[in-house]
Amino acid sequence: MSLTTEQVKRIAHLARIEVSESEALTTQGHLNGIFELIEQMQAVDTTGVEPMAHAQDVSQRLRTDAVSETDRRAAYQAVAPETEAGLYLVPKVIE
């Protein structure tokens, strides 16, 4: 499997990454290189091997349902570009 330049541009758009024409071509080469690697790996017979959802074969640790975090809004908003009335301000979002 290999990607077309159009597919690379679409992925870049979905990831909100701006790529120029030449960057798209370079990226296409990199991504296709990764696909080649995957193709090699797929040559291995994995019949009967259950897919893993994580590289480590351990299960999720759970925490007790309790409030442990206090209000640190002032500290967090000190590094925000813009705030008002306790809100983070962002460029207008229109549906």
Binding site: Q60, R61, R63, A66, E69, L87, Y88, V90, P91, K92
Partner: protein, 484 residues
């Protein structure tokens, strides 16, 4: 309209009853000052790690067991990628391929009275995910304000098969689900606060056609009335489009309660545009047999089981049983009433709760939890009807007196207000004689074959007795005397 069939599937986001968020220790309490309950994990600051809330998982297990679903021994969290300012990570943690709950069913009653029928809605799945924050679009110098208090609030997204065939069925399902999640204590069901919101996937197809039509999804319906209005509008709109030769495009729409119309929000992106993949920050969720067994043992008697018991053991109709299990509060009230009045009076208890009590609650605009008459008082009242101390009509007066606090028990009100029924047949006989003597015209009419005249005479006797004469005895005596 008649040649079209409506197909509806519903996705519901139920906010789970936890005190902290699904992946962080920030509070989920409603109504706090903006961003005071958004911690480093919720804000997606670099280097933070989500850790799953055990209680959120337990809520999902409870739900799965309550609907007879398969609770997955192993489920996986995935990242759903999209960009929006109220989603700081740039992805929502959700579940895709391996959700925690698979399948299950909810049985519900649709319609009222004689037209009521039972319907079973099949569920596809239910999965755990985090909520996003809130965007405020009022003008902040041309910018939007973001409140992330809600970001990371645990949700159970409950998805049905496209099993519903009318807006009434959709509303009946939503109500049944709403009652169930509150019943098993996993969601407070507060729709104003957004704790329970529905998306309806609606399509139409010619009757008899096997394939589904193209669907449009109506987002974020936060009341049962809006759910019905939105679906009714959408169905009519789709039928008109098709009949005018246009094709339905898959889309996401919003319902505007003011205009009663749905309008397009965005054309639906393909599912894989979200580029789901297993979240490397989270390991597979393992639910073992012991955990499930404990949750199962802690489940209350469920609405469906209660309905069956009310019908089987108390002899109620299926419809009455459904009404009385509409919420845990109603069923508890009913059962406490029966506990006092006795199982033999289950049917009158059901009527009093569904008709008289419901009517009185409605009149005062209060919830059953705030009823001025307790189930114990009502049970005591029904006991006095059963043993003929008072008639049903007088009982309504006693009920009102209890409601207004004119006595602590039905017995006290009956005693104080002299409402005890006259069952002494000599006393009733003298009343009957008086009435017969004073209403010769009615007597003559009755003897001439006018049945209605009989009722007039009964009325006169009851009036003379100030409503307190035993109606059955009055009837019997009148009949006897008139036949003489």
């Amino acid at each position: 309209m008649n040649q079209w069939e409506v197909v509806i599937g519903i996705e519901t986001h139920a906010q789970l009853a936890t005190v902290s968020k699904i992946f962080s220790g920030a509070s989920t309490a409603f109504g706090a000052e903006p961003n005071t309950q958004a911690c480093a994990v919720d804000l997606a600051l670099p280097g933070v790690l989500p850790v799953l809330n055990r209680q959120a998982v337990e809520c999902a297990i409870r739900f799965g067991l309550a609907i007879g679903a398969h609770v997955a021994p192993k489920s996986v969290f995935a990242r759903k990628n999209y960009f929006y300012p109220d989603l700081p990570k740039g992805y929502q943690i959700s579940q895709m391929d391996l959700p925690v709950v698979v399948g299950g069913q909810i049985a519900l009653q649709v319609g009222q009275g004689d037209k009521a029928y039972e319907k079973v809605v099949n569920l596809t799945r239910a999965h755990l995910e985090e909520d996003a924050g809130k965007s405020l679009h009022e003008d902040f110098h041309g910018k939007s304000g973001i409140d992330l208090n809600r970001a990371g609030t645990p949700l159970l997204e409950i998805v049905t098969e496209p099993d519903m065939r009318s807006s009434d069925e959709a509303v009946a399902y939503a109500r049944a689900l709403h009652a169930l999640v509150r019943w098993i204590g996993i969601c407070d069901g507060n729709m104003q606060e957004g704790s329970f919101r529905c998306d309806a996937n609606v399509s139409v197809r010619p009757k008899g056609q096997a394939e589904f039509g193209t669907r449009r999804e109506i987002k974020n319906l936060n009341s049962f009335r809006f759910l019905k209005e939105a679906i009714d509008f959408e169905v009519q709109w789709q039928i008109n489009e098709i009949e005018e030769g246009r094709k339905i495009q898959q889309a996401t729409v919003l319902f505007d309660p003011d205009s009663g119309e749905t309008r397009m929000m965005r054309s639906k992106e393909d599912a894989h545009d979200y580029r789901y993949f297993p979240d490397p920050d989270l390991l597979p969720l393992i639910i073992d047999e012991a955990w499930m067994a404990r949750v199962r043992s802690e489940l209350p008697e469920l609405p469906q089981q209660k309905r069956e018991r009310f019908v089987g053991e108390l002899g109620l109709s299926v419809y009455d049983a459904a009404m009385l299990t509409a919420s845990q509060e109603i069923s508890e009230y009913f059962e406490s009433t029966v506990a006092v009045a006795g199982e033999a009076s289950a049917k009158p208890c059901a009527n009093w709760v569904m008709v008289d009590l419901a009517g009185r609650l409605n009149k005062d605009g209060v919830d059953i939890a705030a009823a001025a008459v307790s189930p114990q008082q009502l049970g005591g009242l029904i006991l006095r009807i059963a043993d003929n101390t008072i008639s049903n009509n007088i009982a309504k007066k006693v009920f009102e007196a209890l409601w207004l606090g004119e006595g602590a028990t039905a017995d006290e009100v009956i005693e104080k207000q002299g409402l005890k029924q006259i069952t002494d047949s000599a006393a009733i006989e003298s009343l009957v004689d008086e009435v017969l003597a004073a209403n010769a015209a009615n007597v003559a009419e009755f003897k001439a074959g006018k049945e209605k005249a009989f009722n007039a005479l009964v009325g006169q006797v009851m009036k003379a007795a100030k409503g307190k004469a035993n109606p059955q005895q009055v009837n019997d005596l009148l009949k006897k005397k008139l036949a003489e």
